[in-house]
């Protein structure tokens, strides 16, 4: 953590954009998150890695109340996320990119992109479409504006999903294994878009198994297993000099793969 002394020059720099405080989550008897504490600063790129079933998705989904913690607190941009304010706060602050894209199949790509800006942010059609085309350019798919999502490849669908998330113009984007459902040959095009994004001041939380990506863009990496954060550090510390035994084993497996 940086010393607060250096942060006073830029107003909000260093303040927590996301904060999980003693978060516990159960699915029935299964204790999925065990007292998780985590802070993500504004503009920070946080990568979460860990074996499957370790609670990575649940952690990220608690950040926008797709899962409601059984105990503990979630703060987004300084405000506690509660059952009452979830819709409003999530709308204002976070957007999410899913493993399965979850584009709306009954709408064209352009409609997918302008829906929320028009219906939720009350933008005019012109404004919303301008925004949509801007982000379609960012992901390099302007020419697909008028096709239906299911006609696109997985990689293209995910890039559209990223564009849709960007159209929300939220401060935080959550990615839950955005490349895990993709054919290998389309993974890189999605990672390239995310690397481009990482250069912006947007706060990113990314669950991924792409270690190259983690090294390249992460400010900080955390390792989860059994619903706990077992190690946390900069990519260099993390990959060059891992401390935790389970992390060492995990990295060994991933890298051999």
């Amino acid at each position: 953590m940086e010393a607060p002394l250096f942060c006073i020059s830029r107003e909000k720099e260093g303040t927590a954009m996301i904060k999980l405080e003693n978060v516990n989550k159960y699915f029935g008897d299964l204790h999925v998150l065990r007292d998780v504490n985590l802070e993500v600063k504004e503009g920070e790129k946080l990568v979460i890695i860990g074996p499957s079933g370790s609670g990575k998705s649940t952690t990220v989904r608690c950040m926008n109340f797709l899962e409601e913690p059984n105990s503990g607190h979630v703060y987004i941009d300084g405000e506690e996320l509660t059952h009452r304010n979830k819709t409003q706060l999530v709308r204002r602050t976070t957007s999410m990119v899913f493993q399965q894209f979850n584009l709306y199949p009954h709408m064209t790509v352009l409609k997918n992109l302008v829906l929320a800006p028009m219906k939720l942010h009350h933008k005019s059609r012109e404004e919303a479409e301008e925004l949509a085309y801007h982000y379609l350019d960012v992901v390099g798919l302007r020419e697909k504006a008028h096709v239906y999502p299911t006609t696109l490849s997985g990689g293209q669908q995910q890039r559209i999903a990223i564009a849709r998330a960007l159209c929300m113009q939220s401060k935080i984007i959550l990615f839950d294994e955005p490349t895990s459902a993709l054919d290998p040959e389309t993974i890189q095009e999605v990672l390239d878009v995310m690397i481009k994004l990482a250069k912006e001041n947007i706060t990113m939380v990314v669950v991924t198994h792409e270690m190259g990506f983690a090294r390249q863009v992460a400010d900080r990496v955390i390792f989860m297993a059994d619903g706990q954060i077992l190690e946390e550090g900069t990519p260099d510390q993390f990959f060059e000099n891992p401390q935790n035994e389970r992390l060492k084993t995990f990295l060994g497996k991933i890298i051999r793969k």
């Binding site: 797709l66 409003q88 709308r91 399965q100 929320a116 219906k119 939720l120 849709r164």
Partner: protein
């Protein structure tokens, strides 16, 4: 007993054709307003059932079970006679509309529920994560996708509600079946059983057959489209692991 080939019997039916058409009109009216009511009830209960709120889902479940597991005839009699004896007679048309609406509302509720549940969970999550509230989620994202699942069985419901107007005969209705029955047992008109029931059946068939053909054609084309995009849909509906 006037048989199928009695010109006299056919003539009788022809003379009273206005009566049959009147019966058809009453049947259409009862079925039409009953359908509207059943759509309202079914929509609300279908949304209750999929709301994820236990008390609301329980209300929907209880209604559906209660209505689907008792005969329509009994419900009609209850509505008509029980209320009549307590001094609040509803009249035959209102009884028809209410009982048909209540009865088919249970089936529509199940159709709506199935339609909503057919939409992959990821669609709800995407909508929620964009900040859509319940109404926005349903209006823009979920229901437009449910509608193609809902429509074919809904058309079948229209056919069923139309045929079920015949139950109104038990409370002395003025629908097509009741009228036919009065006709064949009437003092002046009695006896022309075969022609009367043939005509009556033909009228039902003319209305119902196009509708149910439409429903099954719809279903077949839906299946075809699903098979084509099946791979995509399966991928999308897998739970985020």
């Amino acid at each position: 007993m006037a048989g199928l080939f009695s010109a006299n019997a056919w003539n009788k039916v022809w003379i009273y054709r206005g009566t049959f058409l009147m019966g058809l009109k009453n049947t259409v009216i009862s079925a039409g307003f009953g359908l509207l009511l059943s759509l309202c009830i079914g929509m609300i209960l279908g949304l209750f059932a999929t709301s994820g709120k236990k008390p609301l889902a329980a209300i929907a479940r209880a209604y559906v079970e209660l209505i689907q597991n008792t005969p329509l005839l009994l419900q009609m009699c209850f509505l008509y006679y029980a209320l009549a004896f307590s001094g609040h007679s509803l009249g035959i048309l209102v009884t028809g509309v209410l009982s048909l609406g209540i009865y088919h509302g249970a089936y529509v509720a199940e159709v709506v529920r199935a339609g909503i549940e057919a939409v992959p969970k990821g669609q709800f999550e995407a909508a929620f994560s964009q900040g859509f509230g319940y109404l926005g989620r349903m209006t823009y994202i979920i229901l437009p996708q449910s509608i193609k699942v809902i429509l074919p069985p809904m058309v079948n419901q229209v056919v069923n509600i139309f045929k079920n107007t015949s139950c109104l005969y038990i409370v002395g209705g003025a629908d097509l079946i009741s009228i036919t029955y009065s006709f064949v047992t009437g003092e002046n008109t009695g006896g022309a059983y075969a022609p009367a029931y043939l005509v009556s059946g033909l009228l039902f068939f003319i209305v119902c057959c196009p509708l149910s053909s439409l429903a099954s054609m719809w279903e077949i084309s839906l299946k075809k489209r699903e098979d084509r995009s099946g791979r995509m849909d399966r991928k999308r509906s897998e739970r985020v692991a």
